[in-house]
Amino acid sequence: MQTGGDIPEVPGRPDERDRPRVGVDEWVASHDERLADRAGFGKLGRWIDARVPPWARLLIFAAFAATLPLWMSRGDLFVYGIFTLIYILLGLGLNVVVGYAGLLDLGYVALFGFGAYFYALLDSPKYGLHWPSAVSIPIVVASTALLGLILGVPSRRLLGDYLAIVTLFFGQAFVVFVNAANPRNLTGGPNGLADIDPNDLFGYELVTRKQQYWFILGVVLLVLIGLYFLSESRTGRAWRALREDPLAAEAMSMPVNRLKLLAFAFGAAIAGLTGCLFAAVLTAVTSGNFALPILITIYAVVILGGIGSLTGVVIGAIVINVSFQFLAPENSQTNARILFYGAVILLLALGVKPLWRLALVLAGAVVFGLVAHAIASGISESWTNGVVVEGGRLAHVISEWVIIPTGHQRFANAAYLALIVLVLAVTRIRGWLQTALLIPTVYLTAVVWETSFVEEPAVARWILFGALLVFLMTVRPQGLLGTPRVEIV
């Protein structure tokens, strides 16, 4: 496997060369060997899977997670801590439906919303009900499970993507229902429901972020333990059989329909539970909380982590939420710049071998930049007169190296488009030409950062996040901790 070292740069499979074009049997047969060969995240993942027992994993996670409130600021605890936990819970629920039972449910977020709205109705000034959580949460969870069961009924008739679209309609219909239809002002319309009570632990209200965090962490741990035993149980094994091959499962006289409905109900129950916690933490719910973007995020969590793996969901949620929050525009731009350049150099270090070639690229980029800068300023002063945004100590260096024209919209756009073309080209080319092309690519990356991304950090976040998703999926198609499954056609 001579290309193994280039994993992050190779868009194709590392073993592309060995992949037979016709007939996959040979490929299937050599599956395990190739697995053993694969390095990197996969190796780490399999090592974790094989060597660290589940209870130890849970313990490590719990021990680490429990310390977060001790060293994080309130805001960081909220966005990194509480929201990661919420995504873990949602991912776990979806994992039952998609990962265990293999049903593509695109209406999942509506169940989450139903739970949140129902909790809000039971614990807010809306109808003056302020039920204790010990009463309201079980009621909400039970009714969400029931709703999931009802939603699951068409799954008996519909296969694969047709199920996906019907459930997607359900999800959309939920948003329209609470936002626009709003019969008798039940759901508050676009204003949503506000002043929702915090969760309480048998009368003790959880008002601070730390208390809320620890409470949700406790719930997450309980759900994880419960799901672990469920997945090892008869039902769990039956679900996986159903996912791998519904036809064979049916032939083995498994109650396929009942299993599907059960999966829907289970996933829904967890979604409803999460809804209660979410509504209580947010203190207000509106239809916008349950629209498609959050569904997309949950799917990303489950698939990135590795479908069907509990550890995978936890890791997926951490990767997705932390990377997304890390790119948030309200973080300091000076730090973001250091991180960005650092990440670019890291990526190069991983992709460009041997070391002298890397040094050549970096040195080349520096020289290239100085020359380009000199030429540009020679043509006209205004080409290099732009201001470095939030430069910090680096401002001077950057302004001497990167071309930042004044009023540079058009230049910035051209640089951005050129960068995309160059990056795509670089991933396809090998050898000396690649090294040569990398020099302007590195320089253009800096130009794009300084002229576009710093100006619009909120937009840059989504661009980088999108690129990250594509990159991770092409590097690890089965997710970070998923077992690579071979689909026999």
Partner: protein, 403 residues
């Protein structure tokens, strides 16, 4: 291929180190807030040379077209300030609230609130966002000044007193103004109201509908999802031919233009009446329509400079109140920082004491906040003479103030 594992692991370690280094510097400034969230209110901040204001606006997502205007206008105040002042500077920390997902708004609020260098916040944009972020901002003692949250109860219910302010008149100021004009001046008796299925729009629609019906006007209420709809001809087909005017309290001027074109191509002559969200001479130019908006001077030098600079050729006037909100917060911080240090409580007090005279205000009137709640005005609202004017769109698309 064991070799490959080593660089990968070392890369991971290096990245973690980088991450820790990056957050470490950010974290150190936030520790005070972390240890004692309740005392954030009175925690002394050394003002130093560079002061920080937070900006919360929906920069990406479905509402990006209006949110980015707010972000740009707020930052434009910072740019202008920094250009004019040699000794002190401002920097803006912009958070993306991604309206309509209020969960993002609350995350931004938590982040801004626990960044102890931030003494005041501009935004958030939507009334529902103000509602969900109140608890966070209040517990951290931050003053937050919105340039577009108009729901009346935000100030009149008293729960945000001293923390929340806005540089835009509320629904119960704008509503009567519009209703009076439609009924009193235009003397229309058959009116349709189309709400845009969002918090801002339903609030205004309900107010105007109530007032018009009380004065004997025949009101037909319609509803459309302004953001998701591209084909307004079906909505236009529902408006009867004898309807005299259609009130559209929307926020996306290009969509109002589409609706107007759909009405005209179906041969319907009803006059469109837009709210402040539609004041956009670049996009909404159906001749004969009316729009309520601040009594601004369109030839103002700052607006022109914005148009040539960050606006990329557009005035983006929806963001104007956010510029003013940034001015309110920034000037309050400057006053609180006179002795070199400030607390958030001091800044709140100074925001409340804001007194921007008419000549320095882009909105066309001086800005002072109400001290005694009266009628539809609560603490945090701008006092008289803050109210909207009415504009008419002339045959060549220019906006002419008529009231």
């Amino acid at each position: 291929m064991r070799k490959a594992l080593l660089p990968l692991l070392s890369a991971l370690v290096a990245l973690t180190a980088l991450v820790v280094a990056a957050t470490g510097t950010a974290g150190s400034s936030t520790t005070t807030a972390a240890q004692a969230p309740t005392s954030a209110d009175t925690a002394l901040v050394r003002c130093g040379r560079t002061r920080t204001i937070g900006v919360a606006a929906p920069i990406t997502g479905a509402a990006a077209s209006i949110g980015s205007q707010q972000g740009r206008w707020a930052r434009y105040w910072v740019t202008r300030y920094n250009r004019a002042h040699k000794k002190t500077k401002f920097r803006a920390v912009v958070g993306d609230t991604q309206l309509p997902d209020t969960a993002q708004a609350i995350q931004v609020a938590e982040r801004l609130a626990s960044n102890s260098s931030i003494l005041g916040v501009v935004g958030p944009a939507g009334s529902q966002e103000v509602q969900v972020t109140t608890a966070t901002f209040k517990s951290a003692g931050v003053a937050f000044v919105s340039g577009s949250a108009t729901r009346t109860s935000l100030t009149t219910d008293g729960t945000r007193r001293g923390y929340f302010f806005r540089t835009v008149p509320n629904d119960d100021q704008q509503g009567p103004r519009v209703a009076n004009y439609i009924r009193g001046t235009l003397r229309h008796s058959r009116v349709a109201i189309v709400d845009a299925q969002n918090s801002y729009s339903t609030g205004l629609s309900d107010t105007v509908q109530r007032l018009l019906r009380a004065r004997g006007v025949n009101v037909q209420r319609e509803s459309v999802n302004e953001a998701d709809t591209t084909d307004f001809s079906s909505l236009a087909a529902r408006i009867p031919a004898n309807t005299q005017s259609v009130y559209i309290p929307w926020q996306l001027a290009p969509k109002a233009q589409l609706f107007g074109q759909a009405l005209r191509t179906q041969g319907k002559r009803a006059i469109l009446f837009g709210s402040d969200g539609l004041f956009d001479p670049d996009s909404f130019k159906i001749p004969g329509s009316f729009v309520s908006f601040f009594p601004i001077d369109l030839r103002n030098g700052i607006i022109n400079a914005y148009r040539k600079g960050p606006g990329r050729g557009k005035s983006e006037l929806f963001g104007l109140p956010s510029y003013q909100a940034a001015a309110v917060v920034g000037e309050a911080i400057d006053r609180a920082c006179k002795n070199g240090t400030a607390t958030r409580a001091e800044v709140r007090g100074q925001v409340n004491k804001t007194n921007i005279p008419r000549r320095r205000s882009l909105l066309g009137f001086g800005i002072r906040f109400v001290q005694r709640p009266a009628g539809v005005l609560g603490r945090g609202d701008m006092g008289t003479p803050a109210n909207f004017g009415i504009y008419r769109i002339s045959a060549n698309g220019t906006y002419v103030r008529v009231s």
